[in-house]
């Protein structure tokens, strides 16, 4: 079956000729009309639309946005904060960048609608430090929006006010974790908080109820407010509604960003048709479908079982190419939808070295607060680094897996899983490569194959 057309909902204007990131251009294209209508509705109605829409977070966890909003403590009397997670740092992910740089007002409109729906009066956009121009673009866009009455102390004359501030990070992946982000925003070392009791919806920023949402998620809120939650929920597939932006990188002919209805494109269609297939003379070997934290898939493996379609249980027997790119399917076959960062590796890549690269990333980014992740991530990195540059023993694969098993599920935050899953899945699926690496290393590296560690 041929791949469907892209459904450019969020990315409608990204890369479009002549589209600029200023307010005038945004308004010429219908910008802020949705906000104008939204502020005339009851905030509870807007929250309801989001619930009906089935929107799931696009930052990586895929948690229901409607449920997240409903958990906010609205009885404490404390101010409610909205924090926009613009810390896009999950390897393989590059979507929020384009929204921020090319269509910032879509984000701001989404923010303002979400703030209005949740009675938020102060919002922060936590943007990663490596997007300095992005921060400047956002600040300018906010200033434009304020001047036009779309943000600020009196939105569109309704008396409702909300200030939005840009806050720059400084190079820490852990600031993408919601409680790490909150600690960083408070001016402290970004050590994630223990949950319970510090659920952001109850004890978040400054110990006040806080909503942390991804950039893309908030843009979806704007469209949900526009078309209604019901209509939005009919886009995509049941339980995996709307569209999502897939970011494909690595060994494909046409890497880049592609927006599809969730679950309507398979991994095979995406990589072979949309992205043009493997590079000349190469074959696909492995793919990480949801950012480097997701478990790797090996081309050639099969996934079998039963899944719910409508009211029935239906058998499935899939190869990698057959997997629909939605949260539930990817979780079902043992990986995850995550942030949509699809990293493709072909037969030129040594999985040991690829894991060495991933382990170096996680050990560098570990905040160091809790024992398993702090010590375990560095240990795994030292093992793979030794395998690549020093002595590789056949039992190192089993040792790596054993170390990873001691991390996942034992840590304060999901970084434990994030650093353990790559190791666990690489060893599970490519175990023979780890066993035979000492031997394989003796063959000289072909010219075009770069080092990864």
């Amino acid at each position: 079956m041929p791949a469907p057309e892209q459904h450019r909902l969020i990315f409608k204007h990204i890369g479009a000729d002549g589209y600029t990131n200023d307010l005038a251009c945004y308004q010429r294209n219908g910008g802020y009309e949705v906000l104008k209508k939204a502020v005339l509705r009851k905030p509870e109605d807007l929250m309801d639309e989001v619930k009906k829409s089935g929107l799931r977070g696009r930052g990586g966890a895929g948690f229901s946005c409607g449920v997240k909003w409903s958990l906010v403590d609205r009885k404490s009397g404390k101010p409610i904060y909205l924090v926009v997670n613009a810390d896009e740092s999950e390897p393989g992910t590059f979507k929020d960048r384009y929204i921020i740089y090319q269509d910032p007002h879509q984000l701001i409109e989404g923010i303002m609608i979400s703030c209005f729906a949740n009675r938020v009066e102060r919002a922060f956009i936590y943007i990663r430090g490596e997007f300095p121009d992005g921060a400047r673009i956002l600040e300018r866009a906010i200033a434009e929006a304020r001047a036009a009455g779309f943000a600020g102390p009196n939105v569109l004359g309704t008396g409702y006010g909300c200030e939005v501030y840009v806050h720059r990070g400084a190079g820490a992946y852990i600031c993408g974790e919601e409680t790490g982000l909150i600690e960083s925003l408070e001016g402290k070392r970004p050590y994630p908080r223990i949950k319970p009791p510090y659920f952001p919806a109850v004890l978040g920023l400054y110990m006040c109820p806080t909503i942390v949402n991804n950039v893309e998620t908030l843009c979806h809120v704007k469209h949900i407010a526009d078309m209604g939650g019901e209509a939005y929920s009919r886009i995509g597939t049941p339980g995996n509604t709307g569209t999502r932006i897939l970011c494909v990188s690595g060994h494909v002919r046409r890497p880049g960003y592609y927006e599809f209805e969730v679950g309507r494109v398979t991994l095979g269609q995406l990589l072979n048709e949309v992205c043009g297939g493997p590079l000349p003379g190469r074959t696909f070997k492995a793919v990480i479908p949801g950012g480097s934290s997701a478990k790797v898939l090996r081309f050639g493996e099969r996934y079998k079982g039963k899944r719910k379609v409508g009211a029935e249980m239906v058998e499935y027997d899939w190869g990698v190419e057959d997997i629909p790119m939605d949260f539930d399917s990817l979780a079902m076959i043992g990986s995850m939808g995550g942030s949509g960062g699809v990293i493709v590796m072909d037969d030129s890549v040594s999985m040991v070295e690829a894991l060495g690269n991933i382990n170096a990333f996680y050990s560098h980014e570990s905040c160091g607060q809790c024992t398993p992740c702090r010590e375990g991530s560095l240990w795994m990195k030292k093992i793979t680094a030794r395998m690549v540059r020093g002595e590789a023993r056949p039992e190192d694969g089993a040792l790596l897996k054993s170390v990873a098993d001691q991390i996942a599920g034992r840590t304060i935050c999901a970084f434990g899983e994030a650093c353990a899953w790559p190791t666990q899945s690489f060893i599970a699926k490519f175990g023979e490569e780890f066993k035979g690496y000492a031997q394989a290393r003796r063959t000289p590296r072909p010219d075009g194959v770069p080092e990864l560690v």
Binding site: G92, Y101, A170, G171, Y173, E186, Y206, I343, F361, P450
Partner: protein, 165 residues
């Protein structure tokens, strides 16, 4: 602290964004580093006093976040992404080329004082790997040849066209 008037103005303004002063730590560190080129211990104590926290509270941040440096760097800061997507597309070779061009190791000031070359983690532009940031600008698809070309431009003092995002 010899900060420019504009920096001081921005610092005064940004502190008003937060109900708790300490939150302004990262913005102040960015402003001071942009003004002075790096964060000195005098700056740490000045920022701590300004935010009414202890110097160790600011020092903890400076050493945690890789974007803050406590020593001056070369005139240009070349940051090469080394995470998976860029690495499998040749990021390590790009970095080696920059180092070769300026005869410098990682994290040092090159002998001619022009550059500091550093590895950084994923810059969120994996579709156009290998990716390099030079100061605030992003450069895409920087293979060895393009790295050479960029280095030539830096040495010639010519402006370098940014990659479009």
């Amino acid at each position: 602290m010899n900060l420019q008037a504009d920096t001081l103005r921005k610092i005064d303004e940004v502190i008003t964004h937060y109900p708790v002063k300490r939150s302004a730590a990262l913005p102040l560190l960015h402003y001071v580093q942009e003004d002075q080129g790096y964060i000195s211990s005098e700056a740490i104590e000045w920022i701590a006093a300004r935010l009414e926290v202890q110097p160790v509270n600011v020092y903890e941040l400076v050493t945690f976040y890789p974007m803050f440096r406590q020593k001056p760097i070369g005139r240009r800061h070349i940051k090469v992404c080394r995470t998976l997507s860029c690495a499998i597309m040749g990021g390590y070779r790009t970095c080696s080329e920059f180092q070769r061009q300026f005869s410098t190791g990682l994290g040092e000031v090159s002998p001619d004082g022009e550059v500091t070359v550093d590895f950084v983690e994923c810059l969120a532009s994996c579709g156009t790997a290998p990716v390099v940031m030079i100061d605030d600008e992003l450069y895409e698809k920087v293979d060895v040849a393009k790295a050479r070309a960029l280095s030539e431009k830096i040495k010639a003092g010519a402006p370098i066209a940014a990659g479009k995002t």
